[in-house]
Each structure stands twice: as C-alpha cells, then as structure tokens.
C-alpha cells in the first residue's frame, strides 16, 4: 500500500507520472483526436470518467479477484464503462461522438487505464485509488488539451474555435496525422528540458 500523503496521490499524476509526457502511454487517442482543443478536452474527460469508475470498482473488489484472471476482469470492467461513456456521448453530444468516431470504443485498450489498475487500484484502498485515477486523468486532460490547442492554433489560427491570430495562414499539415507526430515529439522534448531544469 502506498504511504504518501493523500494529496500527493493526486498531484503525482499531473507531472511525474503524467501518462503522456513522462510515461508515454495511451498514445493512440492522444495523437488521433487532438486535431482541435475541444476534441482533446472531450477525449480527456471521457477517458478520466472510465479510469475513475474502473479504479473505484477495482479497488472495491480487489480482494475478491484471483490474480490469474485479474487482467481479464479489469478489461471487462473497463469495457463496461466505455460502453456507458459511448452511449452517453451518442445520446447527449452526438457532434462530439461523431468527431471522436471509433476512438471512443478504443478507450478500452488505452494502456494506462489497465496500467493504473495493475499498479495502483488493485493494491490500494478506494479513496487513494480514486485520487490516483483523478490525478492521472487530469494529467491526461492537460496533455490532450495542450496538444489539441497547439495543433488547432497552428492549423487554423484558432483555439477552442475562437480566433487568436488574425489572418493566420493555416499550416494544414498540423491538422493532418504528420502534424500530430511532430507536435508531440517537440512537446515531449520540451518536457524533458523542463524536467532537467527543475531537477
């Protein structure tokens, strides 16, 4: 069991265990849906919902699950909450659901969700597990929104649909797949530099 002060369980997800910038997990949705800041943010929220609900359930049943079948059990719990999130988005926010397309169901195979269950929720009490999930989820939302904002800004001169740079000549490549790889590459490098400076 983890012995950190409780607020550290939340804060560590933002930076030192940030899934995108430090752990490099969950890359597929990160690169695919961040064509705009709104898409990045909604993907982040949906993933955080699934992660937190799964951590809640897993930490409650952690003593009942035999370790041989734990991965399968975790995956089924994740799949259930992804179905909930998917149906909710389809019913309430059809436009976002359409923009995210098959990447909502693909949250099932987002590696850091399973990773948090394996590393944390299956070994810690419920309160800490929820804080941990919220922290990692916030780190993910932060990364996705940042990446989405940069790509949207350079790709169309707007952020969240508001014009930021007037008469910007759009770099179409930023909206295309290649732009996702390049932006994330430079962002991770920037994060490495920040990490080195602050240490």
């Amino acid at each position: 069991m983890s012995r950190r002060p409780w607020y550290r369980e939340y804060l560590k997800g933002l930076w030192e265990e940030n899934p995108i910038f430090r752990m490099l997990l969950g890359m597929c949705p990160t690169l695919a849906v961040t064509t705009s800041a709104v898409n990045g943010l909604s993907m982040g929220l949906a993933t955080t919902f699934v992660l937190t609900s799964t951590s809640l359930v897993v930490s409650i049943i952690r003593k009942l699950v035999p370790s041989q079948v734990r991965i399968a059990t975790f995956t089924m719990i994740i799949a259930t909450f992804v179905t909930v999130a998917d149906l909710f988005l389809k019913a309430k926010f059809p436009a976002i659901s359409k923009a995210l397309g098959p990447y909502v169901p693909l949250i099932v195979v987002n590696c850091f969700i399973l990773g948090r269950q394996e590393v944390f929720a299956s070994k810690n009490p419920t309160g800490r597990s929820i804080l941990d999930a919220l922290g990692v989820g916030s780190g993910f939302i932060f990364a996705l929104t940042l990446l989405g904002s940069i790509r949207e800004l350079l790709g169309s001169g707007e952020v969240f649909g508001h014009e930021v740079i007037p008469s910007w000549h759009p770099w179409v490549v930023m909206i295309l797949p290649a732009g996702a790889f390049l932006t994330l590459g430079f962002l991770v490098a920037a994060m490495n530099i920040i990490e080195e400076r602050t240490r």
Binding site: A178, A189, A190, N192
Partner: protein, 192 residues
C-alpha cells in the same frame, strides 16, 4: 478490384499506424531493431487475420442475431485476448526464439489498439466476410511495413549525435511524423 482497393488502402494510403494512429505503443517500443520488428509484425499479421475472421463471425452470427450489438466492445476484447493467448502458447511451443524475442510485447498485442480498431472499422464500414479478411491481412502487412522501416531508421539513428532532450521517444515521434509525410505521397493513389 474492390478487394484490391481495400488491400492497398489498408497497407499504404490509410495505414493503421501513420493514418489512424493505431498500434503506436508497439510502434515506439519494438522498433529499435529490425529483427524484433519483423517478428512483432508477423505476430500482428497473424493475430489480425484471425481477429478479422473470428470477430466478423461473432458479430454477424451471434451479436446481431440475438440483438446484442451493445456488447460489441466487451465481446471483441474477449475474443482478442483469447486469440493472443493461443498465439502465445503456439509460439512458445514451436518457436521459442521468436517467443523470447517478442517478450512482453506479445501479451501486449491484447492492448494493441490496432487489433480492436480493425474489428471496429470492419463493423463500421459494413464489410462482408471476404472484404473483412482482406482488410485484416492488409492492415497487418501495413503495420509490419511501417514498423520495419522505422526500425531500419532507428538502427541508424542510434549512432546520431542528438541533443539530450530529443533522445528516445521525441526523435522517434518526429521521425514518425516525417514518415507520415512521406506516406501522404500515396494518398492520390485511391480514395476510401
């Protein structure tokens, strides 16, 4: 002709890695040596072909027939997990070297989003059985192609004198970006 289009699209123009960003984890993780890249690629082609066949049958003959399409995600992930398990047992018995070389990445095929993505795209685009099969093989070959190219580049990059902040993941991502730009050259080939 239709089948050829599906195949070429899956391999080149709508490549799973460079166009849909599916399977990025193994793409970043296993691409440091050509040999392991090819091994991983072969495992993925194999699992993808099987997945395409089995999930198509299960979706159309079990889920749709009994009115349960909302169980789609749970059913697919179960099928994939069991398939990977079978492949793992098979490899351990018949090719221990490849089994050791793939190491942790073989069980990780379960959480390789390209496999689940394949099943989802197949349902979304309403492919029939043969189209689904061709799509599965094409996607697997496309994945292997890009993974091998990437491994070739990274073997050379290992000797490059890079700024410290760019070593490891950042330079791999940037290389992938340039590779994606190169693959855009194929986009005039066909439209999907």
């Amino acid at each position: 002709m239709e089948l050829l289009l599906i195949f070429v699209a899956a391999v080149l123009t709508n490549n799973f890695v460079l166009h849909y960003f599916l399977g990025i984890c193994p793409f970043l993780g296993v691409s440091s040596r050509i040999e392991t890249a090819v091994g991983m690629g072969l495992a993925v082609i194999f699992v993808m072909t099987l997945t395409a066949t089995v999930t198509w049958l299960i979706y159309h003959h079990v889920l749709v027939r009994f009115g349960l399409p909302f169980l789609e995600y749970a059913a697919f992930i179960l099928v994939i997990a069991s398939l990977v398990q079978v492949v793992e047992m098979f490899l351990r018995k018949f090719s221990p070297e490849l089994y050791r070389a793939l190491g942790i990445y073989l069980p990780l095929i379960t959480t390789n989003c390209s496999i689940l993505g394949l099943a989802l795209f197949m349902v979304l685009r309403e492919y029939d059985f043969i189209e689904g099969l061709v799509f599965g093989i094409g996607a697997g070959i496309g994945f292997t192609l890009v993974l091998t190219i990437m491994a070739g580049i990274r073997e050379e990059l290992a000797f490059a004198d890079l700024p410290r902040a760019f070593r490891g993941a950042p330079i791999t991502l940037i290389t992938a970006g340039i590779l994606a730009l190169a693959f855009m050259g194929f986009s005039g080939l066909i439209r999907v």
